[in-house]
């Protein structure tokens, strides 16, 4: 190892330490803001050191410098523009898009290296190169195509309903055979760019076929899984080009994505395999029954809800994605402020899958200035519910259904928010429609529950107005 390579390796090590420390600082909202700049400077150092090394080696052609700079400039500006302008409700799409380009870039790096080595001589392609190239191309291509489909679904360009067509499994099987067969051929020592392209094509179509049948409700799991894939693809690219920086950073992302995938799948009470193969995770609830469906539910008005809330001492708001879909974050914040100005303690109970990606609801509430100290995780919230006077459920359904505690229901075993343990419950809902699980929510029939049938945004605004009239 020459001196320059040694210095470069140490800079990569330093960058890796920066990434780990940056992630470590995210263990509390108070320190998280310092983590991001630390990680960013680590990245700047890794990139700057690589530029210096390229300059020192002086082997990069002028054309390559120009092409690299042009790509970086265009990509950087587009990325920054998207990140600056995206709405917080659209974060999952953007993260998915960044997963796609990250995985895509990793695959391209491996392809470029393979094409170059194949031009040098067949013996230049060692088993190590072939194995890591094939893995990188397959994982990177599946991530690229799958993430674009996921982003399209989240953006509403592709239907959120599961897209299932006859023979889909056979097609996926054939594609898998194609990709693995091609890989096996390459591993047998053959040096063939055309076969690598077949593997690439099969992996791309496989990625599309994998995500299309997955419903909107399962998106938090899918995004987390694709995030993990991207990390592994980048690590494989590191193996291809012998770069420890890529290996470490990719492994960290792979670990992070895997943990989040597991957490999300657990929170939905489903196995990852079950989600990928497709199950009850159908799109948004189409089951609309306007007005009171069941006979034994108690319907209340905005004024009734306002009286309960205004004279409570402790209120727990339980927001679901329906809140964000109705763009009612400002209204819910305003209600919390009005209640707090009366000395009422207000908290938000947030289920892990409330939103379209892990932790999404927290960001949506933080955006409208809800302090993070008021955001309670599931376990913490569940300890509080027995002392809560009024729980206000807005846009959440299955995650509040006590049926999950009993065996033999579609929700059995799913961790839920123990809303039914609070003294009183108000549910704002447009109709008696079912959640993704397709079963009645027993919470609605609870004698302590009052149902206020309204759109989340309008309903909350009416309650705010009623509270103000009441106490103003």
């Amino acid at each position: 190892m020459g001196t320059v390579n040694t210095i470069l390796a140490f800079v990569y090590l330093l960058a890796a330490v920066g990434f780990v420390a940056g992630l470590h600082l995210m263990n509390s909202p108070a320190t998280a803001r310092k983590g991001s700049p630390l990680s960013m400077w680590a990245m700047v150092a890794a990139i700057a050191a690589t530029i210096a090394k390229m300059g020192y080696d002086n082997k990069t052609s002028a054309t390559a410098w120009i092409v690299l700079a042009a790509g970086a400039l265009i990509g950087g500006v587009v990325g920054l523009w998207m990140a600056r302008t995206v709405k917080m409700t659209a974060i999952p799409q953007l993260v998915s898009l960044f997963n796609a380009v990250g995985g895509g870039a990793a695959a391209v790096v491996a392809i470029a290296d393979y094409v170059r080595l194949s031009g040098v001589s067949a013996s230049a392609i060692t088993t190590r190169v072939t194995v890591s190239t094939v893995l990188d191309v397959i994982i990177g291509a599946v991530t690229f195509a799958g993430s674009l489909i996921a982003a399209g679904k989240l953006q509403g360009w592709i239907t959120g309903q599961p897209v299932v067509f006859p023979g889909a499994r056979i097609l996926s099987g054939l594609l898998a055979v194609c990709a693995l067969g091609g890989s096996g051929y390459l591993l047998s020592g053959a040096d063939n760019i055309a076969v690598l392209m077949v593997v690439l094509g099969a992996a791309l179509i496989f990625g599309i076929a994998m995500v299309l049948p997955i419903g909107g409700a399962d998106m938090p799991v899918v995004i987390a899984l694709l995030n993990a894939f991207t990390g592994i693809a980048v690590a494989m690219a590191g193996f291809v080009i012998n770069n420890s920086g890529l290996i470490i950073a990719g492994a960290l992302v792979g670990a992070s994505g895997s943990i989040l995938t597991k957490l999300m799948a657990d929170a939905m009470n489903r196995s990852i395999l079950n989600i990928i193969v497709g199950g009850f995770g159908t799109g948004d609830s189409a089951n609309v029954v306007v007005g009171a469906g069941g006979a034994d539910i108690r319907q209340i008005s905005a004024e009734d809800a306002a009286i309960q809330l205004a004279y409570a001492t402790k209120v727990m708001v339980v927001p679901g994605y329906g809140l964000a879909a109705a763009q009612a974050q400002h209204e819910v914040r305003e209600l919390a402020e009005v209640l707090e100005s009366r000395g009422i303690e207000v908290h938000f109970a947030i289920h892990p899958v409330a939103g379209r990606m892990p932790g999404h609801m927290n960001v949506l509430l933080a955006e409208v200035n809800v302090p993070y100290t008021e955001l309670k995780e599931m376990d913490e919230a569940n300890r509080e519910f027995p002392t809560v006077d009024v729980s206000l459920v807005v846009g959440a359904n299955d995650v509040t259904n006590p049926a999950a505690r009993r065996p033999n229901t579609p929700l059995s075993g799913m961790p839920i928010l123990d809303v039914d343990r609070s003294h009183n419950i108000i549910v704002i809902k447009r109709s008696m429609g079912h959640g993704y699980a397709g079963i009645d929510n027993e919470l609605y029939a609870d004698p302590k529950t009052g149902m206020f049938f309204a759109d989340a945004k309008r309903g909350l605004a009416e309650i705010v107005a009623a509270v103000k009239t009441l106490v103003g």
Partner: protein
């Protein structure tokens, strides 16, 4: 198997374990910024794009360099920008309200 490959695999496995340790301590409140931050970190693939550039000497090489550079730069720049934007929103106390709203605080 070469010594280099063995040590690379060791690095890979240990980094995954370090990742598990660090990330399992992140509260679910911050899971979206966490995913976005890890998203930004895999933007290190830009270094891979640079290595590709340093070895490109043909039209195919240049095209692949451009694609890798474009994708990776979008990933790394956008990833850090959005993570930062989100983390700025996580505050202990609400910001003083600037937008005038009628009948506030009665």
């Amino acid at each position: 198997m070469s010594a280099g490959l063995v040590s690379d695999i060791s690095i890979f496995v240990l980094a995954i374990l370090a990742g598990f340790e660090v990330i399992s301590k992140v509260p679910s409140t911050l899971h979206t910024p966490l995913m976005s931050a890890s998203n930004a970190i895999h933007g290190i693939v830009f270094v891979g794009a640079m290595v590709t550039a340093s070895q490109a000497h043909s039209a195919v090489g240049y095209v692949l360099t451009f694609v890798a550079s474009l994708f990776a730069a979008m990933n790394v720049a956008g990833g850090y920008a959005i993570t930062d934007r989100m983390l700025q929103m996580f505050r202990k106390r609400p910001l003083p309200r600037t937008d005038a709203e009628p009948s506030e605080g009665n």
